[in-house]
Symmetry: C2
Subunit: 364 residues, 2 copies
């Protein structure tokens, strides 16, 4: 039998051969991206050519994730292909992305998750600045938060759509789960709970119900809370999977966040309408006439045509022309015949009607 070194060497040689093929294929793929650019320029002229196609990227990601034979997780495979596409796209011109800063926030993480690390990102200080930079064409796209479980709906983002003609071109979701962890035999034995202030707030109801008399101690980060729980007898922490993996903390109670779907959702805003990808979401901005039953009448066509509404938010219109405006999300793309029919019926009942965008559902 071969020695350990011989066996390892044989595997490493196999890996080297695979790497040569991967390098060759990635380079071929990049040349195809250049061919796409050449065709588009030949027919449309460089100025009009749109190289970034979110619906096409969503399709590629879904296919590789569906076809993934393992052993890598589909999420890892999707992430790798996102980076490969990002690098190929940047050959023409890196995408310029504005996001609600500062650097290091979740919004920047969302921007990289959606566009890959070959994009150039620029942090801006306010949501309206992100809209303005996209409108003026200084950047290609913007990334803004639209819902998060600490602040609820980010109203400022919704309000901007009343003033802006930009489209929604995509969405990104970052999931955040909280777990109660520590080296105690029983939840009842916990004497103190450490966590970041925001995490404590996000688990308030669960704590009030289950551990109402245990002091909650806010600390600088969930990682620090985990380290305290490791060292201080009787203490527990609320933290995420990352710190749990690192500190190998036993989970005493999982997913204790008050919102079961504790997700921060971001929108990609841009100037271009996005063709169907096969699994899309549409966001409407509508207002009903101010008469009894008008909101029900407005929504009826969606239900009648079997379209699944996933969210509705109302906002004061601030325009005087309508009392309230509604932001409605539903599954489907406005170019699909069924959706088009439903929307034309809905439009009859609306005093204000705008399709903010039909865009691929977040894949990763």
């Amino acid at each position: 039998m071969a020695t350990e070194q011989e066996q390892l060497l044989a595997i490493r040689n196999r890996i080297d051969a695979i790497d040569r093929q991967i390098l060759d294929l990635i380079s071929q793929r990049a040349r195809c991206a250049q061919d796409v650019a050449r065709v588009k320029q030949a027919f449309g002229g460089a100025k009009d050519a749109v190289f970034y196609r979110p619906e096409r990227e969503a399709q590629v990601l879904r296919r590789v994730m569906d076809d993934n034979p393992g052993p890598l997780s589909s999420e890892e495979v999707g992430r790798l292909f996102r980076e490969i596409m990002s690098a190929c796209l940047a050959l023409e011109r890196p995408l310029r992305i504005a996001f609600l800063g500062p650097e290091g926030t979740f919004t920047q993480a969302a921007a990289f998750k959606h566009f890959g690390h070959s994009a150039i990102t620029v942090p801006l200080r306010a949501i309206d600045e992100v809209f303005r930079e996209v409108e003026s064409g200084v950047v290609d796209y913007g990334v803004v938060p639209v819902e998060n479980s600490t602040e609820g709906v980010v109203n400022h983002t919704l309000d901007m759509f009343l003033l802006s003609s930009l489209n929604i071109c995509g969405e990104v979701q970052l999931r955040i789960h909280h777990h109660l962890c520590g080296f105690v035999d029983d939840v009842k034995a916990i004497t103190r709970i450490y966590s970041h202030q925001q995490s404590l707030a996000q688990c308030r109801e669960w704590l009030d119900l289950n551990l109402p008399h245990v002091p909650r101690v806010p600390v600088a980060s969930n990682a620090e809370a985990a380290r305290i729980a490791l060292n201080e007898p009787g203490s527990a922490c609320i933290t995420g999977q990352g710190a749990i993996d690192i500190y190998q903390l036993p989970i005493l109670a999982g997913n204790i966040e008050d919102q079961p779907d504790n997700t921060t959702r971001f929108l990609i805003i841009g100037q271009q309408p996005i063709p169907p990808s096969g699994d899309d979401r549409t966001t409407l901005l509508v207002s009903s006439y101010n008469r009894p039953g008008s909101l029900q009448a407005l929504l009826a066509p969606l239900a009648e045509h079997g379209l699944t509404m996933t969210r509705i938010e109302s906002r004061p219109s601030r325009k005087g022309m309508w009392d309230y405006v509604f932001f409605i999300d539903f599954d489907g793309h406005c170019e699909e015949p069924l959706v088009a029919t439903a929307l034309s019926e809905l439009k009859q009942e609306a005093s204000l009607f705008r399709i903010l965008g039909s865009y691929p559902k977040g894949v990763l």
Copy 2:
């Protein structure tokens, strides 16, 4: 001749075929990584098996970057392979990395650059906490800054090596260049210069020499400075390539940072010694006997054996046993015969001698 749509469809079909092959190869590579783990466990037992091999990763990266046929840049190709290796390695167990926090700092960027995004990172509040977590084995590696052009040498990191037995397992460099930009016809026409406080400080000498009487206005970020320069006549900004690409600002003077090698350098610290990768650096911690000419005598063997010293830093020893200790970097690996000979000679002249690590030079 085929229409635009037909031509694009043909290219997209080619890309889809390439993607299927890439997916297959990446999955094969991941299975090889599992084979490596199986062999190591069969021979060494799971507990002792070290799956992360920095010297091997450096070799893989160098080879794909050397072999890169284009059109992607070698840096992009290296980055993609870093992520592929990171994902394959995480199949066994994701690497746990502590870094000097908070989140979103350059040190976190360095951690991801070195370990890829499949690693789990945890921010800690102080350099000694990073050392402690690595020493206790709670995390696999730590990432700490060792030099940056604003603060100079990060003395606290050097001092930690006097107390710690950890090795240097690698290095990461982040290059930072500053350019003076704006829409003015001549540098002499500039009326105000905007930039982040730190960037203004990093270009102070150049500004004192070339534009001594122009007011310097610190703003929240270099991106904001770029936006002001875009809009305010007569103004200029100091910013990096990212903001220049986004705002398409003309460069009035490039690389104006006072330190020509304006690089922040980070060390990877860990428990394991790293075998040679073929292009390595060694860091020594030494002290000379307190007599005339002793430092020269200490350094002589390096020169005599033709080893290139790249850096030397002195620090008060704080131990009473030696007045000063020296941190010396030179090219080569302590297992190479020539280096081993030079070091055995150097050791004769030293009152304190410790090899902090021989490790691959930063590849990306």
